[in-house]
């Protein structure tokens, strides 16, 4: 009698357990599938060097950014998806007893696109509107990576007495990627490409 009871009870719970297990497996499989693809090149953005020069009252930025796109990003690019790369520059005022205050910031955006007909990689400076084309992705990324004499800010706008830090980073923007990718971009690392903040003191 007791055995029957427990058997029935276990059966009931067994069914429930099986149901839950199957769903859990499905989710895990989905995740595994995703992660399996992630075995390919995840990509990496890195600021190799950066410096600022004061020339006739204006700060100019020279920087070298190494762009390595992830496999996914490259696939998207080759299929015609336009990628937006952004360089963010921030001026931080050092404060002794509180957090640093972000006094000024600048964002430089570029659009990278592959044109199938001409088989060329098009780079467009979204700030200035200039365009350049390249035969290979490598040269396009190289071009993007070399920032020369980018005007940042008038020296007059900064407080001469205060101590400032500058930091820059490079980011693959996901604002304008196509809808279906947006969901994936939400949690996948190959789409959330950005470099670390590269920070140094102004004046050194």
């Amino acid at each position: 009698m007791g055995n029957n009871k427990t058997a029935a009870g276990c059966l009931g719970f067994g069914v429930g357990a099986r149901v839950f297990c199957s769903i859990a497996v499905a989710i895990v499989a989905l995740g595994v599938q995703q992660s399996a693809q992630g075995q390919q090149d995840p990509g990496r953005f890195e600021i190799r060097s950066a410096s600022v020069e004061l020339q006739s009252g204006v700060y100019y930025l020279d920087a070298w950014v190494e762009y390595r796109l992830s496999f996914e990003a490259r696939e998207a690019l080759e299929a015609g998806v336009a990628l937006t790369l952004q360089t963010e520059v921030e001026f931080l005022r050092n404060r002794r007893f509180w957090f640093d205050d972000q006094e000024a910031s600048l964002r430089q955006s570029y659009e990278l696109q592959y044109r199938a007909l001409s088989a060329r990689y098009l780079v467009m400076n979204l700030n200035s509107g200039e365009q350049s084309s390249f035969a290979t992705l490598f040269s396009a990324l190289n071009f993007l990576g070399r920032i020369t004499e980018l005007p940042l800010i008038d020296a007059a706008l900064l407080d001469s007495d205060a101590v400032y830090d500058i930091r820059i980073r490079a980011v693959l923007s996901t604002d304008d990627i196509p809808g279906p990718l947006r969901l994936l971009a939400f949690w996948r690392r190959d789409w959330s490409l950005q470099s670390e903040w590269y920070r140094w003191r102004l004046g050194e």
């Binding site: 390595r68 015609g80 088989a119 490598f138 994936l184």
Partner: protein, 747 residues
């Protein structure tokens, strides 16, 4: 709520139209909200499952039912959901895949190839132009270079023509555009290519470390098709010019040609289509993933909601059943006041209604029963009180003569505490009881014969003497013909009989006295006359006369005395009640008998705390006189005479009594006399009237007291008197049930 949002979102989402930007942007957030919802549901469900398991193990009522219902509902909900889910996922995946036709891709690719080829023709043509221009410039004068440049440009139809020296210095330029814009210098790519003199294959390094081979289009020339951001194309061509000085850097001639509007547009369209298809094709997997994820989320939410709903419904359905179970248990324990709330107007509600109704009825019935029981109890108690105070003995017996009930009087009359032996057999009790065995034998003589209804006067002989009982027996109704038991009701009529006898005697005495007295006086008078007349003269028989008349007169006097004694016995003058000290009275009477010549030891053991008694002093004197003289007479032949008179104050049944004992050390009563000691004319003496004790008894009984006689342990006579202290007590005694001194009986 998340499901509704999702549903709406699903409606908006169309597989081809990616233009629902707002939805796309909101997608991750919707997803997040739903995941939170799922997590919440999981937690709730887990909680419910744990609770159910704990209840199941503890055998909480209703838990098994809940578990069964739960699993059933879950199975019912989950199965179709899973089936639909599986199918939906399949459909979507297959559907999406079916849109992407290989033929279409092929076609688009071909179109692109065609466009490219068309444009390539132009590019080669323009390269040729630039090469020829370069040759022309090489052989011309440097001074007119600008003018020549302009002419060459117009001839060739280029949009812009520029000569760049080394380090991007512009040597000369000509532009179609009136607004002068600085020509862009040749890029590294161009320069790199041009540096390779002669046809060569240049290798463009790629990121992964491989190389892309670029064929040089012509000898020392560079041309490319440049896509414009705003749409349309231009062709860029560049060649080396002969250097100024031999061995120096060669200047570069760069030309920009616009591609024809019509071709541009078409090419753009083709590329656009191709791009779009390529993008879609690329996004195919992402799309499938999206849909699957959304479906899974929807499935999970629906599933978990269904499961939780199952828990909820199961619990709600089981609650009234649990309440019912609890209610049933309460009722079994005896708590009839449980009322269950009615959950709904369905069958379970009906059941609970019936339950409430039932308990209500039970409660009412129980109350009724307890009331009836109470009434019965009250009645029984009343009867008990009556029986207890009844002077008649009531004994009820089972058919096997076991005592069912007995009242106090029954015990008193029969001399056995029957109340303490309820349930025991009368037969066994009677073995140790003289009176009871006699009573029993008479009863059995009737009952064994089958005579259940009888009435008989029984005489019992015991230590205290004779008792006459008037017994009546009836049978209790039992099953069919046989009786369920017997009730025997008996009254002790000994006193009654005795009183009757006494009254009869009294009456006889009175009459006799009167009748006898009448002739006595004339006899005496006659005798006296005779003596007077004939005694003085000297007759011959004067001595005889003297003796005879003397005898006559003497005997008549004796008879008169006897008759007077009778009269006295029969007469009942008014009682002259007075309050006095009894001890003193006894002492006074005793003193009369203390003569120095009388060898009598008269001891008084009186109770110093004896209360003042209310009685007729004269009668009491007579009592003691009679008793003492009686004792003396019985001890006439003894030399060592001893009489002990003792008094004691006691209480019996709330009545204040004085116990007086007169004990002598004489021969005592004879066995056949002791029972009738107080009867008139019961005497062993030669002389005396034989009424002494009878008178004493009468006097005592007039006070409402009791008297009894027996032989003491030492052989002498022992008279015991119970005298009530007051008149009220005396009245109470007269009306009270006949009480025997149990101590005396047992002694």
């Amino acid at each position: 709520m998340g499901v509704l949002m999702w549903f709406a979102a699903l409606m908006l989402f169309s597989p081809l139209a990616q233009d629902s930007e707002d939805f796309s942007r909101a997608l991750p957030w919707i997803l997040l909200i739903n995941l939170v919802g799922i997590a919440l549901l999981l937690v709730l469900i887990l909680g419910s499952v744990l609770r159910l398991m704990r209840d199941y193990r503890r055998h909480v009522p209703g838990s098994r039912l809940k578990a069964r219902m739960m699993t059933l509902l879950v199975a019912l909900a989950v199965t179709p959901l899973l089936i639909i889910y599986a199918f939906a996922v399949q459909f979507i995946n297959r559907g999406i895949d079916s849109w992407f036709d290989v033929d279409v891709a092929q076609g688009l690719g071909n179109a692109l190839e065609l466009s490219r080829t068309a444009l390539n023709l132009q590019t080669r043509e323009h390269l040729g132009d630039v090469l020829s221009m370069a040759q022309q410039l090489g052989s011309s004068n440097r001074a007119d270079i600008v003018a020549e440049l302009g002419e060459l440009r117009r001839e060739s139809g280029a949009a812009e023509l520029t000569i760049f020296a080394a380090n991007d210095q512009i040597l000369a330029t000509s532009s179609e555009n009136p607004e002068y814009t600085v020509p862009r210098p040749p890029t590294d790519e161009v320069i790199f290519q041009l540096r390779q003199r002669g046809p060569s294959v240049s290798l463009e390094p790629q990121m992964e470390g491989s190389f892309l081979s670029l064929e040089s289009q012509a000898e020392g020339g560079y041309v490319r098709l440049e896509p414009l951001v705003e749409g349309g194309y231009e062709i860029l061509a560049a060649v080396n010019l002969s250097p100024e000085t031999p061995g120096g850097e060669a200047p570069i001639l760069q030309a920009r040609f616009e591609v024809g509007q019509r071709i541009s547009v078409l090419a753009n369209l083709v590329e656009a289509s191709y791009d779009e298809y390529a993008e879609l094709s690329y996004l195919r997997d992402a799309l499938k993933t999206n849909f699957t994820v959304m479906l899974t989320i929807v499935l999970l939410i629906t599933l978990l909601a269904a499961v939780y709903g199952a828990f909820f419904s199961a619990r709600r359905l089981v609650v009234p059943i649990q309440q019912l179970m609890a209610g049933t248990r309460a009722v079994a324990r005896g708590d009839f006041d449980t009322r269950l709330p009615i959950p709904a107007r369905d069958e379970i509600g009906f059941l609970i209604n019936s339950f409430n109704d039932m308990t209500q009825r039970l409660a009412r019935a129980r109350k009724q029963a307890s009331l009836s029981q109470q009434q019965v109890e009250d009645e029984r108690r009343k009867v008990e009180v009556i029986l207890a105070r009844l002077s008649t003995g009531v004994v009820s017996l089972e058919t096997d003569l076991r005592i069912r009930t007995a009242n106090r009087s029954a015990g008193t009359i029969l001399g056995v505490d029957l109340e303490a032996h309820l349930g025991e057999s009368l037969v066994t009790l009677a073995e140790t009881n003289q009176l009871l065995s006699q009573f029993l034998s008479v009863s059995r003589s009737h009952l064994d014969r089958g005579d259940y209804e009888w009435r008989e006067q029984i005489v019992l002989h015991g230590d205290v003497g004779r008792r006459v009982l008037m017994c009546t027996c009836t049978a209790l109704s039992g099953e069919r013909e046989d009786p369920g038991g017997y009730i025997i009701v008996f009254d002790d009529i000994t006193a009654l009989l005795q009183a009757q006898r006494d009254a009869a005697w009294g009456e006889v005495a009175r009459r006799l006295a009167h009748e006898i007295k009448n002739p006595l006086t004339p006899i005496q008078l006659s005798a006296e006359r005779l003596r007077r007349r004939y005694l003085g003269a000297h007759y011959a028989d004067s001595e005889l006369l003297d003796r005879a008349t003397h005898t006559i007169i003497q005997q008549v006097a004796a008879m008169k005395e006897m008759v007077n004694a009778f009269s006295e016995y029969a007469r009942t003058p008014e009682m002259a009640m007075a309050r006095f000290d009894l001890n003193q009275l006894i002492a006074e009477v005793a003193d009369l008998y203390r003569h120095p010549e009388q060898p009598l030891t008269l001891q008084l053991h009186v109770d110093p705390e004896l209360p003042i008694v209310e009685a007729d002093a004269g009668r009491m004197r007579q009592v003691f006189n009679n008793l003492i003289s009686n004792a003396l007479e019985s001890m006439e032949r003894q030399t060592d005479k001893e009489i002990i008179i003792s008094t004691r104050h006691l209480q019996r049944d709330g009545v204040e009594l004085i116990e007086i004992k007169v004990v002598d050390n004489g021969p005592g009563f004879l066995d056949d006399v002791v029972d009738h000691a107080f009867d008139p004319y019961v005497t062993t003496k030669d002389k005396g009237t034989g009424l002494g004790l009878a008178i004493v008894k009468k006097l005592i009984e007039e006070h409402g007291g009791q008297i009894s006689a027996r032989n003491g342990e030492r052989g002498g006579a022992e008279i015991a008197i119970l005298l009530p202290v007051t008149r009220e007590a005396g009245d109470a005694m007269l009306f009270a049930t006949h009480r025997y001194d149990k101590r005396r009986e047992r002694a």
